[in-house]
Symmetry: C2
Subunit: 430 residues, 2 copies
Amino acid sequence: MAIRLHQSDADFEARFAALLAAKREVSEDVDSTVRTILADVRARGDQAVIDYTARFDRLPLTPETLAVGEAEFAAAELAVEDKTRAALTLARDRIRAHHERQKPQDDRYTDALGVELGSRWTAIEAVGLYVPGGTASYPSSVLMNAVPAKVAGVDRVVMVVPTPDGVVNPLVLVAAKLAGVDELYRIGGAQAIGALAYGTATIPPVYKIVGPGNAYVAAAKRQVFGTVGIDMMAGPSEVLILADGANDPDWLAADLLAQAEHDTAAQAMIMTDDAALADAVEAAVERQLKTLPRGETAAASWRDFGAVIVVDDLEAALPLANRIAPEHLEIAVADPEPLLAGVRNAGAIFIGRSTPEVIGDYVGGSNHVLPTARSARFSSGLSVLDFMKRTSILRTGPEQLRALGPAAITLAEAEGLGAHARSVAIRLNL
Amino acid sequence: MAIRLHQSDADFEARFAALLAAKREVSEDVDSTVRTILADVRARGDQAVIDYTARFDRLPLTPETLAVGEAEFAAAELAVEDKTRAALTLARDRIRAHHERQKPQDDRYTDALGVELGSRWTAIEAVGLYVPGGTASYPSSVLMNAVPAKVAGVDRVVMVVPTPDGVVNPLVLVAAKLAGVDELYRIGGAQAIGALAYGTATIPPVYKIVGPGNAYVAAAKRQVFGTVGIDMMAGPSEVLILADGANDPDWLAADLLAQAEHDTAAQAMIMTDDAALADAVEAAVERQLKTLPRGETAAASWRDFGAVIVVDDLEAALPLANRIAPEHLEIAVADPEPLLAGVRNAGAIFIGRSTPEVIGDYVGGSNHVLPTARSARFSSGLSVLDFMKRTSILRTGPEQLRALGPAAITLAEAEGLGAHARSVAIRLNL
């Protein structure tokens, strides 16, 4: 049973604040272990990566077998059903089409003084993509990370995925091919992050690393940040549904459970102005849990982190929703636009009763790599911009330098930077 | 004396690689000290911040005197010369005008299937700006950080600046006012980062923290990353000048020294196809060093990290420049556009002989917070986008769900996510 809150209750604010503050993940302190692994990979390169892979993944490798080869890609193609391949291709095409629209425009202009200013976008040359192994190894995530990188124009998209005991997920290989991944290495953990960041004899370094991973991978990314760029820290998934009373409780229950089944630390929440709907959804969740393949995981998530919040009216739910800043927000009402206008903090919003969040996970076209754990207050889902960088361009001719130079000299002198002042003054014969 | 490399020398590649790999900063291991301070601020709030400020800044404070008050702002206004205030105002206005152009466009559209997709940008509600104390307390940096935040639409721009022994830099206060900073607290170090990230009774928390600081500040930002967003890690400044033989060596020497005077770890480099110019610039640097107020700092930087690189021709310099990925790149040639087109990695580019980098530090309008230490390979200078986040919007009606739903179900089943499949199937009566 999820917790139930009523906005009209006297202790609502305290209980809502506690819900916001609840930690859903145990943060293991793996920093020193990771530091040792990274230093070892930096020092010993391929051999360190091979040693750790033998130890952690029980997989003997050589420099020659670090990379997944063409024969394995071909075998993976044969192992994947046509229907699945077609669905992955549809997803790839829709993700590509949507992300093409995110490509930024360069801007170059001359202002009233005659100063030329500009911003120019270029793709990062080489990017690493971490894909977890085992049950969290999702082909859809390969597409969501690699397709925007390729749309951005990244030359080398380098994927790593651990294959414990040598077990390869053919769907992941097929997705990598469809997405245009350039190199794929069968390594994982902190040792893979080290190989990507520092490079080895076999694996040239990349400049940025994206993708989710376990505590070791997250700690390794945090430690190599600066040497390379990294994306946001991914936490367990969450959904918040804003629903009026006219919804089918079974549809909403299915959406809640689609989040809950990800992870016992996932969080599924619903806010409604209709207490009867709240009851019906809770009953439907219990009913559906009984026939769910991942029912145990979903039940634990719903029990520990699920929330049913009855609000005075849905407009009054907006400030609460913005404090939650959910990764996924469904607005399941007849006319969602007014509520949509009031949302400030959310990773992605799914509007109307016929837009289950799951469409966005796979084939909507938008990205499913989204900010979790309230980080939608300050960060965005993955986009083409994450694979590009902007260079500014400035040009002053002699006339513009005469106009602006004296102010620059004044500020340089105020900051005690004599050589700064001189580099302008010398050009103005001052 | 800076090092001298010739592209035609047999050992060039090895020496250039060594130049790239040189570490200019000693990274102090302050992680455990910082961890203690952050935990203490989180637990004890204001009182912890006050205790650390008394200890590190020798400044006794109360919750009431944490914030800088209106009387102090008024006193600062009186302490700053009109000419300086006018220069700051010009800088503010030019920075604002340029950054207004960076505001992203929302995108909402319907694709051929009838699926509605969108991206909506909103400002981060509250942002913290760290400003170092002492000699590195630059009013220009206050403008460069706070103006883009205000252009983005940030509601609360919260600045912290340590004032050791109670010494306040009036220029910093005036710049804060001009930039529209909403709150200003006289605290610094890891304790200030903790106060911004976790909030205290007096200082409400922010959602993102930007701005440079010492090793303690950098470590604290890395540790609170996730709880809040952070900007890039700022390292010592650097410039690379690409110059043909027709330059005035004294102008170029002045530009090199403007970087070198920042910090003994700063790096000033020049690449030219004219060995005689290289000699003349080196001589001019030595000459100018003698009359520079911060000559000792600049001389140490030039001696330890300066580089003069003679290349076969300037086109051949481009791959080298892209490997360096300089924070600042000057292209001092008659026709800079062809070289400009070949630059992929640089924080900011200053083109033509009359665009000293210093103009960009103050009054050009572009931002002077730029990626250092080769991070221009994967990151950008500060912009309005750093103070906003993007929410994606998706809507499928029943017809679009019928078109896309089966592929989503196929992928959900392939990934073993039964509740995902059900949340689509239930709406299609499958």
